[in-house]
């Protein structure tokens, strides 16, 4: 039984809120209701307030923002490419954003200027988006976009390897590797605020394309015949993805697979029409990263396990499963 859409969104929102509350309460220093309420109302002890507002809350908000961005971007790209395996990584946006961030670390700009990593990631994402769009224009159709993305990803990966290869010292190497692994540990509310405008504008662009993305399920020719302005749709989805994912990578580094998994989990509930999957995918994406980050914090490892690593460990097998299943559909 498919829930009506407002009900479905309300259900996902409530689930996310519950999960976020749990994430605030759970940690190495566990907090039950009393200190939690005390910290929130300002009547608790200072230690609890510090743990809550300076450590857990920024980390939680960062995880939710990043997951929501990746989930929505995945749904938008899957709708645009009509391919269930599409995600921000596909366009090369994630790889180029990570490269941009790593470049600032390599050349020491990150240490010299505040927000340099963020600026690097967003610049990388925007360049990738512009290049992908440019290639896609020359190679008509959506396959051109996918091929351009694969090429961009590979090239960005190669440049990353080059940077790691020539890392000036072990510290800078470890800095760069940390960035590519993806994490929301030690983020501040300021970091979140710096990424917010990009994520908000990107999401607004993607949401403005929702109706067209739904129509695109019919194929490009039929969708255009029913009045879809394909060019405008492509720009909004590609631009929105680039800006939002740039902001997300600036906040947390590279985190993969959320963009594939989140839409996959919701699309049956919205009738396999991707325009309706944008908001639910964002909510589920946020749940995935918040949940994965809880796992990261709770696992008793000596070195901190990175969020991006956990996401990939769970996401990659699911990716293969989805790939095999969609191939099966095509063979029928």
């Amino acid at each position: 039984m498919t829930l009506p859409r407002p009900g479905f969104i309300a259900m996902l929102t409530s689930a996310l809120l519950v999960l976020m509350l749990a994430a605030l309460a759970i940690g190495p220093q566990s907090m039950d209701a009393a200190p939690l309420i005390g910290a929130v109302t300002g009547r608790g002890d200072d230690a609890s307030a510090m743990i809550l507002f300076d450590i857990r809350l920024p980390r939680l908000i960062a995880a939710a923002m990043v997951g929501a961005t990746l989930g929505m971007a995945g749904a938008a790209l899957q709708g645009l490419t009509r391919n269930p395996l599409a995600e921000p990584g596909l366009l090369g946006v994630s790889a180029c954003a990570t490269l941009g961030a790593t470049l600032t670390l390599y050349f020491g700009i990150a240490a010299a200027a505040p927000m340099a990593v963020q600026a690097g990631a967003i610049t990388g994402a925007l360049i990738a988006t512009a290049l992908a769009a440019l290639f896609a224009r020359r190679m008509a159709g959506i396959n051109g976009l996918i091929l351009a993305g694969v090429g961009l990803s590979s090239f960005a990966g190669a440049l990353m390897a080059l940077l790691l290869n020539f890392a000036p010292n072990p510290f800078s190497l470890s800095d760069m590797i940390n960035w590519t692994l993806g994490s929301v540990a030690n983020r501040s509310l300021n970091d979140c605020a710096a990424a917010l405008p990009f994520i908000a504008v990107g999401m607004a662009l993607m949401l403005s394309a929702a109706r067209g993305l739904s129509l695109l399920v019919l194929g490009e020719a039929a969708a255009a015949a029913h009045g879809l302005n394909l060019r405008s749709l492509r720009w909004r989805v590609i631009g929105g993805t680039g800006v939002a994912v740039g902001g997300a990578v600036a906040l947390a580094g590279a985190i993969g697979f959320v963009g594939i998994v989140a839409p996959h989990l919701v699309k049956a509930r919205v009738g396999h029409v991707m325009g309706r999957a944008l908001l639910p995918s964002a909510l589920v994406g946020a749940m995935l990263t918040v949940g994965a980050d809880m796992l990261v914090r709770l696992l008793p490892t000596t070195t901190e396990l990175k969020l991006g690593v956990v996401a990939a460990l769970f996401g990659a097998p699911l990716f293969l499963y989805i790939a095999l299943r969609s191939q099966g559909d095509r063979d029928d």
Partner: protein, 260 residues
């Protein structure tokens, strides 16, 4: 009455310098008309429909009731011209009624958000095409014939005064072919201007008013569908013969392909 005029449609040559696919096509299409487009593979039939639908860059003009189609915004054009591509490329297990509802996009509808008017148009199209029994099934579970009918329902739901149908009955069994052609004829009788690419000369003779004969990017002739001259025209284009039977009044009633 709807009037669609296409003048001197010539497709832009591709970048590799291939010959133009459309070469100066002129046609007039009027409300109540069902016009069949017939010609060999590669003659430019699909290109002609795509050019009129605004999906192929071309020189020349298309006007609908005197308005320049190229100057119309995409949604306004989609409310005037319905176009059924040769292949249905819907992906994923989308329900038939959802897909038919997408036909209302140009009126501002989106899945889950149909106005009462949109809903009436969708219900009518589903009923008209006999898709009632499959309305809640998903596209991937349908037979080829059911899928073609669902696609037709989607185009009908748009309630456009002009319909461009690219091989609407290709790959359908005879019963579905006849049923679909009756539906299309019904739309023309209800006032729509219909241009349909057909490969079956017999269906063209039985259901169409006129035939546009196409070859090498040009409309080489236009004849009444039941004109006795069609046998000669057919032989010229396809190098194949048809056997015709008269209706007793000097007109053709049926045509059958004969092997050489």
């Amino acid at each position: 009455m709807t009037e669609l005029i296409a003048r001197d449609l010539t497709s832009a040559a591709t970048r590799r310098g291939a010959a133009a696919v459309l070469d100066g096509c002129n046609l007039g299409l009027y409300g109540g008309d069902l016009v069949a487009v017939i010609g060999p593979n590669g003659a430019g039939k699909s290109s002609l429909l795509r050019a009129i639908a605004g999906q192929l860059s071309h020189s020349g003009h298309v006007t609908i009731d005197g308005r320049d189609a190229r100057a119309m915004p995409p949604a306004a054009r989609a409310r005037a011209i319905g176009y059924l591509p040769q292949r249905d490329e819907t992906v994923g297990p989308v329900r038939v009624d959802t897909m038919v509802g997408l036909g209302r996009y140009a009126w501002g509808a989106s899945p889950g958000r149909l106005s009462p008017e949109d809903q009436r148009a969708v219900d009518a199209a589903i009923a008209e095409t006999g898709c009632g029994a499959i309305a809640t099934r998903t596209i991937d579970t349908l037979s080829g014939g059911e899928r073609a009918r669902a696609a037709l329902a989607r185009v009908f739901a748009a309630q456009t005064p002009v319909l461009l149908l690219d091989e609407p009955v290709a790959a359908l069994d005879p019963a579905y072919q006849i049923a679909s052609m009756r539906l299309i004829r019904g739309r023309a009788d209800a006032g729509a201007a219909v241009l349909a690419v057909l490969h079956d000369i017999n269906l063209a003779v039985q259901f169409a008013d006129r035939i546009l004969w196409m070859d090498r990017g040009q409309i080489v002739a236009e004849t009444p569908a039941n004109d006795t001259m069609i046998a000669g025209r057919f032989r010229k284009l396809f190098d194949a013969d048809i056997l015709t039977s008269g209706d007793g009044g000097g007109r053709i009633a049926t045509a059958a392909l004969v092997g050489r």
